[in-house]
């Protein structure tokens, strides 16, 4: 019973981290209709920025990390301006392929600047664990989970209740319609990228706090992709909830099934969910169902 509760609790915490990364997918998709497969690489760029601001530049950790979030937003703006703005109005296929090329560029550029070696990542959030009843919880992940919930609620309100947010949603529906209603697709995409890139940097801070940093951290991007799909690419709250579902599923799989599959089940689980989802409910739990008129 205790191991079950423990699996639930730690699954929820990891799941909320996935949820935060999924949010960065959702924000960019929801406001710019761009599926950015290079989101993991954007997260990695954010992580390197945090490292530069704190350990390399010697600023206090929290101040440096805060500045790094702004710098990450800037990186997002540059990516939007150089790669995705020229592609406004092009087919989704082209945009997805551009994000694939972006993977090559960002990986290459970060290795060019930072080299292949692994470096320490600053302790942005306090280390250690604390006891809550029978459970042991990771302190950094718990703080991250609270942050994720706050960010989710704020973003949800932004998209649903403010004029600026509703404009972004119109762009997600259709570029042409949005343009004809006087909404600037360019500005929406820029806002989306700035937001998405800073969210990734925030996720990097939670994920890597006190750990090591190299190019391989970009891999978490694709692990969070099933989460974004499960929640529905357009749904802010959905991303967080789906994060919890996938996190808990993964953690239960690792507690009960990994023994029989020599550790494979928890790694494969999110992707099995994804394929099943594509067959049963392609728009995800809370995504928009697209009805095509001919």
């Amino acid at each position: 019973m205790n191991s079950f509760l423990q699996a639930l609790a730690s699954g929820t915490l990891t799941g909320l981290l996935y949820g935060l990364i999924a949010l960065s997918f959702v924000v960019i998709y929801r406001a710019a209709r761009i599926v950015n497969l290079a989101q993991g690489e954007v997260l990695m760029a954010g992580a390197f920025t945090i490292w530069m601001m704190t350990l390399a530049a010697g600023l206090p950790t929290l101040l440096g990390s805060g500045l790094a979030l702004l710098a990450a937003a800037l990186i997002g703006l540059v990516i939007e301006r150089l790669v995705f703005r020229p592609l406004i109005g092009r087919p989704t296929t082209t945009i997805v392929l551009a994000s694939v090329a972006l993977i090559i560029v960002l990986r290459g550029a970060s290795q060019m600047v930072f080299g292949p070696e692994t470096r320490p990542f600053p302790q942005v959030l306090p280390a250690g664990a604390f006891k809550l009843g029978p459970l042991h919880l990771n302190l950094a992940l718990t703080i991250g989970a609270v942050l994720t919930l706050v960010v989710t609620e704020a973003l949800h309100r932004f998209f649903m209740n403010t004029k600026a947010g509703l404009r972004l949603s119109a762009v997600a529906e259709d570029h042409m319609t949005a343009l004809s209603m006087g909404i600037s697709v360019r500005r929406s995409a820029a806002i989306a990228w700035a937001l998405g890139a800073s969210l990734s940097a925030l996720a990097a801070a939670i994920y890597l706090s006190g750990a090591a940093l190299d190019v391989s951290v970009a891999g978490i991007g694709l692990r969070a992709l099933p989460v974004a799909l499960l929640g529905g690419m357009e749904s802010v709250r959905g991303a967080t909830l789906a994060g919890v579902l996938v996190g808990v599923g993964e953690s239960l799989a690792s507690t009960y099934l990994d023994r029989h599959t020599s550790g494979a089940m928890s790694q494969v689980f999110p992707f099995l969910v994804m394929i099943a989802l594509m067959l049963i409910r392609p728009q995800g739990l809370f995504g928009w169902k697209v009805i095509e008129r001919v």
Binding site: R90, V96, G108, Q267, L279, E292
Partner: protein
């Protein structure tokens, strides 16, 4: 477009693949050049081109799934890997000859692609790209966890060399000819697919799936066919790769490799098999020459510079790919076709079309 003044009196001549004498001559000369190449080039270059042939088969397959049927596949190297492991396992554990392992590899890759293509029945567009990412991630985990008696687990498998009539192909130029035969065969298949009922159905599904279904094309069936055929090419490429490098591990077949496959297709142009061939040649040539430059520079300026130059190469190529997507979305082949048309209608002006 045909040169001016050339016309045909019967349909068979119109429909023929090679319609004019100069076309036949050009193809014959090209194949002759490919056959003579090992006599002229050094062993290293022959090795590079042999590997390029293998890549070309995988990219030709990708052209069918992505270019012809319009479904993004960023998991092609996983299917290449499945082909490689199945063929390696059959060849080294059961001693099957290559003419049995190749079809088995093709079939294994094709069937496993159906599993990841199945969602295509319900979804379209970018969602499909995501299930192929799943293939890419599940593949190495699957190989490593399956009993190591089957596929060698995470340490990989050694592959026995190809043997034809009891003669083992060990020399570089023998492998070159072996792969050349297959690349010619599969290029022929890819070029001809467009001219068949299946090929036209795939193009119809890509251009407008609803219109295609109104015309009586079974969309779901043809989407699966596109996946299957693309993966069959990948499976064959994988089997050949195993024979060329003589050892397969899951490290060969990463998402990174899939990304390069798709990049080659973007650079060449997705619309035709010629684009796939063109893109493979261009990217391989660029990679090799940039690496050679990098090596020369590293020898001169020290190994630190070498560690800088290789990721720099990738960044340059990545920027090139984005530039092509932005400025020349139909690939470099468009430029070639414009030149050809301009040459043929000279001295008149070419007004796009």
């Amino acid at each position: 477009m045909l040169p001016s003044g050339v016309f045909f009196r019967d349909f068979a001549a119109e429909a023929a693949y090679l319609r004019t004498g100069p076309q036949r001559l050009a193809l014959a000369l090209f194949v002759l050049a490919l056959v003579l190449l090992p006599a002229l080039a050094g062993a290293y270059l022959v090795g590079v081109i042999t590997l390029m042939f293998v890549t070309m088969i995988a990219v030709l397959g990708l052209q069918i799934t992505v270019g012809m049927a319009g479904m993004i596949n960023i998991g092609q190297s996983a299917f290449v890997g499945i082909g490689a492991f199945v063929s390696a396992s059959l060849a080294s554990k059961l001693g099957w000859p290559f003419w049995l392992t190749l079809p088995a590899a093709a079939l294994a890759a094709g069937v496993s692609s159906l599993l990841f293509g199945l969602p295509a029945l319900r979804i379209k567009g970018f969602y499909l790209a995501l299930t192929t990412v799943a293939a890419q991630i599940v593949f190495p985990i699957g190989i490593a966890r399956l009993p190591s008696a089957w596929f060698g687990g995470s340490s990989g498998l050694a592959v026995e060399p190809v043997s034809i009539f009891g003669h083992a192909l060990l020399k570089q130029h023998e492998l070159y000819y072996f792969n050349l035969a297959f690349v010619l065969l599969f290029a022929l298949l890819a070029f001809n697919l467009k001219r068949t009922r299946v090929g036209r159905a795939l193009i119809a599904v890509r251009d407008n799936d609803i219109a295609a279904s109104v015309l009586g094309v079974n969309i779901g069936y043809y989407k699966l066919v596109a996946f299957f055929v693309g993966a069959v090419f990948a499976g064959v490429a994988g089997a050949l790769l195993g024979y060329v490098v003589s050892y397969v591990t899951t490290d060969h077949f990463t998402l990174w490799l899939s990304i390069w496959y798709i990049s080659m297709l973007i650079v060449g142009g997705m619309g035709s098999p010629l684009g796939a061939i063109f893109g493979t040649v261009v990217i391989t040539a660029l990679q090799e020459s940039l690496h050679a430059l990098g090596n020369a520079a590293a020898a001169r300026f020290g190994s630190d510079f070498g560690a800088f130059i290789f990721p720099a190469t990738n960044s340059v190529l990545g920027v090139l790919i984005i530039a092509i997507l932005v400025f020349q979305p139909h690939g470099l082949l468009t430029g070639w076709n414009t030149l050809k048309a301009a040459y043929r209608i000279w001295p008149y002006r070419h007004h796009g079309g």
